[in-house]
Symmetry: C2
DNA sequence: AACTCTACCTGAATCGATTCAAGCTCGTTT
DNA sequence: AAACGAGCTTGAATCGATTCAGGTAGAGTT
């Protein structure tokens, strides 16, 4: 019942070899054959059997993407960028969201290996390097997304988090804020420490005196943001910071929620607020959030492009691609 | 270099047939053989070549999921549910987000057909029925997600939108609201008209007199919500509705943004606000949104389960699975 | 001892696309 | 006229897992 290349060959009155050539190197085939084969394909509604193709030619037309926080719209955008690039190469994306669960991670890595994906993109939160090394040992090109890792021997595509932290705090200082709190954690996350480092640099290099306080959180979630905000508000009013820099937009959204009291919004007049990621929902918040934008789609596109290149040339040397962050000013910092 | 079943057979001192049997019907093999083969697999780090498997046995270990609005967290959750179910069956998900672009849609359907996916889940916004029928004609089980379609001949998994609309408006009425506006559109979207129908039913069946006004929007986006909110606020104050029912949470978030004026939030005191979908970001808004929850993960799980069943039994009759919606009360309706 | 059964194992054939050595045609060169 | 080469086509071999007809060993039965 399913239509094979043999059926097409019969219909077009040529050999299977010729049909295959029409499909893969049309310029080595007479235009008459191309014509007849194309028409036969059309008439029969033939589509290539990718399994057979993969088996014989060893080419794979899928790339795996493992995301460790599928609820975060930032990763959604990254996936979208990767998708765009992939579909222009006729490649489909195998998607796996692990929610930071190591067992799910193993499941996906095995599944993707069975599928013989052409390459793997992974956005790691925790420590998966040993797992990954083993994975790559089976010959599959692997690129880290949103995680700079010069040491690990993997290529990566990410944003300069330190620069982003600096941008955020410089912006707050320019807006006249002097008592700034950095809200974020845990501190074993590279993203967090980098953003804080940038914030510190900006505070120290400022022309005026700036206090930078650290308010630690247990995770980068909305709930943790709400909790941190509530803690801040229990202080006597004169000890409130006049600006908050949240390590990501989810935290910032949580903070914003806490900073509504009695129908009155403390943002931006009493307290300025800036986040990180430029999450579309942060832009759409009751008070639109200022944020540090990561070029998420571009990250996805680039990561996919690199993984394909590495798959094509296994000798290639891992390279770190770092994009600059961008300050986006909205109402939450008075802009 | 890559390890095949033959290598495993040699290492374990058995034939390839036996290795295959260990993999596929271990109970027909002596426990000693199972033991030795398993160990050989372990030692060699063998993983099945899915291409060969698919080619010979015709079984596919992937399911395609085409989402038409990848930015909407609701679909994210649905995908997550499908993923959970899929990975417990050793199945991986091929993901495609079309952003309502028909050409991308065609690209993905072709790609998935080449991959010979075991089945297809699709969350359609516009009209793709003819496309889909052709797709299914090639023998691939197809299930619609979030779209009831008794007429189309496809199975579907969705939520009773009419009941959801009714729940929302009944809740507003119970809260003492009498001048309710339904915000949503366009009206060729089934979800919109169903939710409105439910709202109308609730208003008409109420014990008290309730006015239900319709505020049309061009799309279900945050921006359209902002615009609709702004339009409402230009009216003289006494003509404001006292409650808004948004056809989804994105609209509701936009409305919420418009209902902040001069640092003062009109929600919920002046105007109550309820959305639809129970988007996690709506729950985390400055004023947490009341909403009508769709059991999104369950929808995904169920859709995947059904598509596998249909793939296993091509004679099966399309069935419509409808889940009940659930009212979630938060601050935005005074709750 | 001959026969039957059960429990396992074996290995060749198979799926469909690709590849490539070999072949064919025809025009050009010597 | 023979030799050559360009341009194109052919079809058998191949990739690796699965399947299944056929085979073997050993226990049980008569």
């Amino acid at each position: 019942m399913p239509i094979s290349i043999r059926d097409v060959a019969v219909r077009a009155g040529v050999s299977v070899g010729t049909v295959s050539n029409v499909l893969n190197r049309p310029d080595e085939v007479s235009s008459e054959s191309v014509e007849r084969v194309t028409q036969a394909i059309e008439e029969l509604g033939y589509v290539r059997n990718d399994a057979a193709r993969k088996l014989r030619a060893g080419v794979s037309t899928t790339v795996g993407f493992v995301v460790l926080d599928g609820q975060n719209p930032f990763y959604n955008d990254v996936v979208r960028g990767a998708e765009d690039e992939a579909s222009s190469h006729g490649i489909a994306i195998l998607y796996g969201n692990t929610d930071d669960d190591p067992s799910r991670e193993k499941v996906y890595l095995d599944l993707f290996r069975e599928q013989q994906v052409r390459g793997l993109l992974i956005a790691p939160y925790g420590d998966v390097m040993t797992q990954l090394r083993r994975f790559r040992a089976s010959g599959i090109a692997t690129v880290l997304v949103d995680r700079f890792s010069a040491d690990s021997g993997f290529s990566s595509v990410s944003v300069d988090s330190v620069a982003g932290g600096r941008l955020a705090v410089e912006h707050l200082i320019e807006g006249g804020r002097r008592r700034i709190a950095f809200v974020g954690g845990p501190f074993d996350m590279r993203q967090v420490t980098d953003r804080l480092a940038g914030a510190r640099a900006a505070a120290e290099n400022a022309a005026v005196h700036v206090e930078l306080e650290v308010v630690p959180t247990a995770a980068m979630t909305v709930d943790e943001g709400v909790a941190a905000g509530a803690r801040l508000l229990t202080r006597p009013r004169r000890e409130w910071p006049d600006a908050l820099f949240a390590a990501n937009d989810l935290l910032a959204l949580g903070l914003l929620q806490s900073l509504v009291s009695g129908g009155r919004l403390l943002v931006p007049d009493e307290i300025a607020l800036i986040g990180f990621d430029d999450n579309p929902f942060a832009a759409a918040a009751a008070v639109p959030l200022s944020s540090i934008r990561q070029p998420s789609r571009m990250i996805g596109r680039t990561a996919l492009r690199i993984v394909l290149e590495e798959a094509a040339d296994p000798e290639s040397i891992p390279r770190q691609t770092v994009f600059p962050p961008e300050l986006i000013v909205r109402s939450s910092t008075g802009g």
